[in-house]
Amino acid sequence: MTPLSRIRNFSIVAHIDHGKSTLADRLIQLTGTVAERDMKDQLLDAMDIERERGITIKANTVRIDYPAKDGNTYVLNLIDTPGHVDFAYEVARSMQAVEGSLLVVDATQGVEAQTLANVYTAIDADHEIVPVLNKVDLPASDPDRVREQIEDVIGIDASEACLISAKTGVGIPDVLEAIVNKLPPPDEGDADKPLKAMLVDSKYDQYLGVIVIVRVIDGTLKKGDRIRMMKTGGTYDVDDVGVYRPAMTAVESLGPGEIGYLNASIKQVRDTRVGDTITHEKKPCETALPGFKPSVPVVFCGLFPVDANDFEDMRDAIEKLALNDASFTYEMETSAALGFGFRCGFLGLLHLEVIRDRLEREYGIELITTAPSVIYHLYTKDGERRDLHNPADMPDMTTVGHIEEPRIKATIMVPDEYLGDVLKLCQERRGLQMDLTYVGGRAMAVYDLPLNEVVFDFYDRLKSVTKGYASFDYEMIGYREDNLVKMSILVNDEPVDALAMMVHRDRAEMRGRAMCEKLKELIPRHMFKIPIQAAIGAKVIARETLSAMRKDVTAKCYGGDASRKKKLLEKQKAGKKKMRQFGKVEIPQEAFISALKMDS
């Protein structure tokens, strides 16, 4: 067991691409934690999707033994947390398990929106913070300016920030020394007290079942212990305890201040709760840790199998995924347009994409995704509240008193020359400006925006109007009433449920027109003309007509052509199967998503 004074637990906070994973790799490498030949990039990003997209979805930990200049060997436990806003709540929770953070800022870019969001989370968790300026090998790096920015914007002392290149290795020894000297050891814990450990995260391993990451506060955790989860009440026999180096390495025991994993034949991630207190069944600790509220989905969409025959396979796949991702919800949904599928809830858009990718890739199911939507609060005339997850379920307006929608506080950092376009975009999306300040050549705009205006293509639009130079982060700030209506889309006079959406009344005409125009482009001509309409209740607010196909006939067809021409038409027919039959109209799958993209 390591004395507390020789333990340092920390995380790394950074904006995406500022070098968090690369720095972690260097720390691991420099301390010889991994043999040189086993070194690969982004060691901690375990899942393929994480590695491919360069994002971390689950918290990972690694234990590093570091012989410091003072002659002592320290145990450094790094918790690598997801950097994306969708998982902000997860980050906040894992940060409770460590005492300090390295704040990595790309010295060529400076402070970005996620830098702010993540560092404030660390400050909220009472972390000691060591600023690290990365990428100093690049000629464009400007450490002085960025140092000043950190002090101005974040308000922490950056005079002793480490200047490093995670790529070349320059400055890494300084970072290690700073971890030892500037970050505090864990608060005191007592090895002789009853076991009290925090459940930091849990994940599913194909071979080992559920692996639980724990931070021990008091007592010791050993193989063979019978443990109890104080919130969920589950009891388990510990098969194994260990640490990540970063390969799983079994250890005798984990004592106060230490971070590691346990394996106790737990079947599903769903059986564990992040923040739960783990104790011994026989000799439990007196008080549990405060615990956390479970994270709740904020973005919803329908997922439908392209091939209706895949529905049962899809159900299996979704159930399997859900067992190991407690933050994602699902319930069966039937759509007149798309058949049987699921309405799923996610922590955010990235989370949605990750789950959809996994269903398609790992389970081989081709999916149609409907437009993402948020939860609206519908109030009846007598003030009773009902949650609306799917615009298609919107009841008759006469029964609804008022509607509230979720709002976010969005922080956008952008070079000055793009500010005008960003403000325009926020305004178009019904944003209310909360703050506008300048920090070292960059503007920071803070907006109060409706979440529903953001979930779909806001980030894409922001990237395109700023040529990728803007950074963006948000947090939920609550619900507010607005003049919201359900807009239905009618194709050939029949409402297409999967295209229904909630919109602000003032924007309905504009959105309706844009949808009808898009659909007119996306639906191929049929043998008859097709009216495409947007309507609020019975009132049509926009209309386009897709004219009938006029000519599609083979000019020459003689004795030699029969089999070849027939094959061609059969191929065409097979191609049409990929479309969704809606009444007499066939709608291509991509229309369900593309129709909603706004170009301006």
Binding site: R550, K551, D552, K556, C557, A562
Partner: protein, 387 residues
């Protein structure tokens, strides 16, 4: 056992795969070859005919068609040898139609008399356009004036003369086509084939088009306007369309092509030729080797067929609809039902009728004028689902 072919009759198609030059739009099996040993080809074609005749005894031949390629490059003696083999093989109908496709150049026109003496009684001239600029763009070797002379010679020589035009060309306006079609109607004898230019993959035009070239082709709307104009002008001049692209004075329809569209039987000989032949009550599809050299060797060795496959009922029904819906009289419901019992979905017919692209009477259904213009979409709807 089915003798369904009787509903369409029996014909012989002979493919001559050689041309003087390859036209940039053409995806027919045609090759430019310097020296062709015509006697050897004549013997091989005749032997193929004899073999097919042995499998189809007792048939009465309605029509013979020399297609290409450019059959007008055949020597009259070659044509004669082939026709003799056909005469020996089958009984001929009294009014047998014997057509030869001809390019309208003076060299070929010089042989017209020889073809007539050999028995040819109808020619189909590949005029394609009535102005030199467009003829050049289509890669044709003849001028408009030369075509006119060849046409006059043909009229003096044969009972029946037809010609082909290709329209919906690059940069052609509706007015341009109207003028040209009016001149064509003034020339016409009894039959015309009016094809909209089709960009075929694997041709020079296909490659240019795929690479973003060949601009100025009509869009769907202009092509539709041109087609409608064509129907109106031809109808008014007494040449109604009896098929998508074929116009004739009533009674002057091409009997040969009607065998295809009525889904009769036809023997196909020559490189790349296809046949539909019922043997012992079972309909077969034959396909010959396409490369001329390969075909010649195979034919001399005993058979030019690359493949012979029996067609099942649903396939026959599909082909019958594909072909039969091209002509005015449409298809016979009982015939379809015999080929593939339960194969036509009544609700599909009703839905197509509903939108005005299909007509249906007690024993037949066919496409309306509007349906004909979107025939591919109609047939696609009617073809049985494949799984």
């Amino acid at each position: 056992m089915s003798e369904d072919w009787r509903e369409g009759g029996f014909a012989l198609y002979v493919h001559w795969p050689f041309c003087e030059a390859k036209c940039p739009y053409c995806d027919f099996n045609s090759h430019v070859v310097a020296n062709v040993d015509q006697d050897r080809w004549a013997r091989a074609l005749a032997a193929e005919i004899a073999r097919s005749a042995a499998l189809t005894p007792g048939r009465v031949l309605k029509s013979i068609f020399f297609g290409g390629g450019t059959p007008s490059l055949m020597k009259p003696e070659t044509v004669e040898t082939v026709l003799r083999a056909a005469r020996d093989g089958w009984t001929w109908a009294n009014d047998i139609e014997i057509t030869l496709e001809a390019n309208p150049r003076s060299v070929e026109a010089a042989r017209f008399q020889g073809f007539a003496s050999a028995g040819v009684n109808r020619v189909s001239l590949g005029v394609q356009a009535l102005n030199d600029a467009d003829l050049r763009r289509l890669g044709r070797l003849h001028s408009a004036a030369e075509a006119q002379v060849a046409f006059d010679t043909a009229r003096d020589t044969f009972d029946r003369v037809s010609f082909d035009l290709i329209y919906a060309r690059q940069n052609q306006t509706l007015a341009d086509w109207e003028t040209e079609l009016r001149s064509a109607l003034a020339l016409a004898v009894d039959h015309m084939s009016l094809y909209q230019l089709t960009i075929e993959p694997g041709t020079a035009f296909g490659a240019r088009h795929a690479a973003g070239g060949l601009r100025g082709l009509p869009d769907e709307d202009l092509a539709a306007d041109m087609y409608e104009l064509t129907q109106a002008l031809c109808e008014a001049a007494g040449y109604p369309a009896y098929e998508v692209s074929n116009h004739a004075r009533p009674g002057a329809e091409s009997r040969h092509n009607l065998v295809y569209w009525h889904y009769g039987d036809y023997v196909g000989v020559g490189p790349g030729a296809h046949g539909r032949v019922t043997i012992d009550g079972r309909k077969h599809a034959t396909e010959d080797w396409t490369a001329p050299g390969k075909w010649l060797e195979a034919a001399e060795a005993g058979s030019g067929h690359r493949s012979v496959a029996e067609l099942d009922g649903p396939t026959q029904a599909g082909e019958y609809m594909l072909m039969g819906l091209r002509v005015c009289e449409g298809v016979d419901i009982d015939r379809l039902e015999r080929m593939a019992p339960g194969g036509i979905a009544q609700e599909k017919l009703a839905a197509l009728q509903d939108i005005g692209v299909l007509w249906k009477e007690s024993t037949r259904f066919g496409v309306t004028a509007r349906g004909r213009m979107v025939l591919n979409a109609v047939v696609t709807e009617l073809l049985p689902d494949q799984d």
